[in-house]
Amino acid sequence: MPSTQLPCYNTVILKYTLSLSAKRGVSLSNKPIITVTDLKKHYGDIKAVDGVSFEVSPGEIFSCLGPNGAGKTTTVEMMEGLRTPTSGSIKIFGVDVTQDYASIRHRVGVLPQDFEPFDRLKAPEAIAYFGGLFNKKMTKQDVNKLIDAVALEHRTDSVAMKLSGGEKRRLGLALALVGEPELLFLDEPTTGLDAQARRGLWRLLEGLRDEGKTIFLTTHYLDEAEKLSDDVFVMHKGKEIARAPPLDLVEQHGGGVSILLRDYAEDSTEKVEAMGFAVERVRNDVKVNLGEGVLVREAIRRLDTSGIQFRDLITIEPTLEDAFISLVGGTIIGGELKK
């Protein structure tokens, strides 16, 4: 956690976090719901997870971000009691899950990465079935409430095999919510969904966080982690690369604000470089990287008064993708790391 570099900026983040926490009725002083310490999972010489440690606070969305093969699913499945760690400890609600996952199972909802609904059950039947498994007597109203929550009210007469990919994921989320869990493990919940379906699911997850649920999310979507997360844990090759709130990661590793000069004159590049800025040509434009310690207002004033010819000027904020590229040396496209 950066605490000294930009105190004013951090104050804003802290206020935002406090505001969210107050809205959710969650105290920041609460003990961590999840404590993972030096967790390892080795398959022979392959180190799928290699000594990761982190804590998850109540009421937050904690994203485990990384490309395919980073060890995200192995990590979350060990936390779900589905895989046995090679070594290390996982405590959820203070219980060592490697010894006694059964005692917390009713407090946890899970949407596995490869979730497939029961093909021949309709959504209300599947929800009622899971209600039975969690020893909950579900009335028709209870079932409909969950159906409405995941926006499946128009597909209640279809068996699951006829649902679209997005609808199946939403049904999976409904099943994860049946037991009214305090903690949700969602393993790549939006993979394979179109943009509209992803945004719909994001709104749903934000609503769940506002209700006070803790969400552990794995994702390879940088925008998803940036949009949803209170905390991001970047994993690569089984190891922790970084862990911080997304804005802090961007601030620390995003490379600072850039200014894009639209339709710049051919001879302008040298002039901008002469002003001490790093320059990158992007088709007909030029991207000026301001670097640390340079105020945007001052940079704009200098560029505007330098006599350089350009049609317009756009400021570009760094994103989590910029931070990720800086940390890992590539970005994620289609789940794969691209250098």
Binding site: V108, L121, L133
Partner: protein
């Protein structure tokens, strides 16, 4: 218990919406019953089994057996001379047996009347073949007796018949217990192996492992479901068997116990195959490779005694044989002591396969 009930309900919905499950549970046994009923209620077996107890053990008795053998209509097997014939018939659920009395040769050559004793069920259609064969053999033997001046007209050697079964059974009755055994095997072994492999490959087990449902509860729920669906299927078979063919069988507590044990056994075998297979297709292939030979080699459609000896040896190594034989013994012949032995074999095999399946079946990832 609510978890088990919830799982039974959900599985029932999925099962009945799967055309394969409904076909094997309700349609296929009925098709078999109708087909075999139509075929075998009118036809005869070319070689009818005939167990013989030779209490004489002389040249003449051997000559008599040889004459019957040459007829090619009966397949003779041997009953130990020390066995009590009534007990042996009951314990082995025999529909026919022949006894050559002690002193057979000595009596006949002394020109004194002597009879072989044929025990048989007159209502079984093969009984006529046996009576004809034994009667003809008696005549041939009598004509060839080395007697110059006969004092016993018209024949020295004769045949006495005694009834075994008093119930009015017909040949189709023989098939009904076999088809019940077959339906149990098909549904539990073939369907559950594919279901279990599908649950594994589609991640359903992983999903269920995130709920409070235990593996043992899921397995118990499957047993309960198969008990329900098989009870319904058996009632349907009985209704059609009685309605279409006038089937007369006894529904005994032992038959119920055998069905329950059979469900346990073949469900466990199905779970074992499903746990081993990578996906439902390979599970179905293995289940078919195990199930179909067993279907035809376990004496469900014809008596084991009618099959070659080597095949009989294989048959007695197959679990379905004991379920079919046990059901037939208690439902047709009233041979509960024989059925109890079959039940014991089925139960022992069920325990073995259940333990193996439980150990191999894992809901956890590696």
């Amino acid at each position: 218990m609510s978890r088990i009930i919830a799982d039974v309900k959900a599985f029932a919905l999925q099962y009945m919406r799967n055309p394969v499950g409904a076909f094997f549970a309700l349609v296929f046994p009925i098709i078999l019953l109708l087909v075999f009923g139509a075929v075998f209620s009118q036809s005869e077996s070319p070689e009818v089994p005939l167990p013989v107890q030779d209490l004489d053990g002389t040249d003449l008795s051997n000559q008599f057996l040889e004459i019957m053998n040459q007829a090619g209509t009966v397949e003779i097997s041997t009953i130990s001379p020390t066995a009590d014939i009534d007990d042996h018939i009951r314990d082995n659920s025999l529909s026919a047996a022949l006894v050559i009395p002690a002193g057979f040769e000595a009596t006949a050559v002394s020109n004194t009347s002597v009879d072989v004793i044929l025990y048989g069920d007159q209502t079984v259609s093969s009984y006529g073949i046996i009576v004809s064969t034994v009667g003809a053999a008696v005549e041939v033997l009598d004509k060839n007796l080395p007697i110059d001046n006969r004092t016993v007209p018209p024949q020295v050697v004769g045949m006495e018949t005694r009834d075994i079964v008093t119930e009015d059974f017909v040949f189709i009755d023989f098939f009904l217990p076999g088809i019940i055994a077959l339906a149990v095997m098909l549904n539990c072994l073939m369907i559950l192996s594919a279901v279990s492999a599908e649950y594994k490959s589609k991640g359903y087990f992983k999903l269920l492992n995130t709920t409070p449902l235990k593996k043992s509860e899921w397995i118990l729920a499957k047993f309960i479901w198969y008990l329900i669906i098989m009870s319904f299927s058996i009632l349907l078979m009985l209704a059609i068997g009685i309605g279409a063919f006038g089937v007369k069988v006894s529904i005994t507590p032992l038959a119920f116990a055998l069905v329950v044990a059979g469900i346990w056994l073949f469900s466990s075998m199905g779970l074992l195959i499903g746990a081993w297979a990578k996906d439902s297709d390979s599970a179905a292939a293995v289940a078919n490779a195990v199930g179909f030979p067993m279907m035809f080699l376990s004496g469900l459609f014809w008596q084991l005694e009618m099959m070659p000896e080597a095949v009989q040896t294989i048959a007695y190594a197959l679990p379905l044989t004991y379920l079919g034989e046990g059901l037939r013994a208690t439902m047709i012949y009233g041979n509960d002591s024989g059925a109890l032995i079959d039940l014991a074999v089925v139960l022992v095999l069920a325990v073995v396969f259940f333990i193996a399946a439980s150990k191999l079946m894992s809901w956890k990832e590696k």
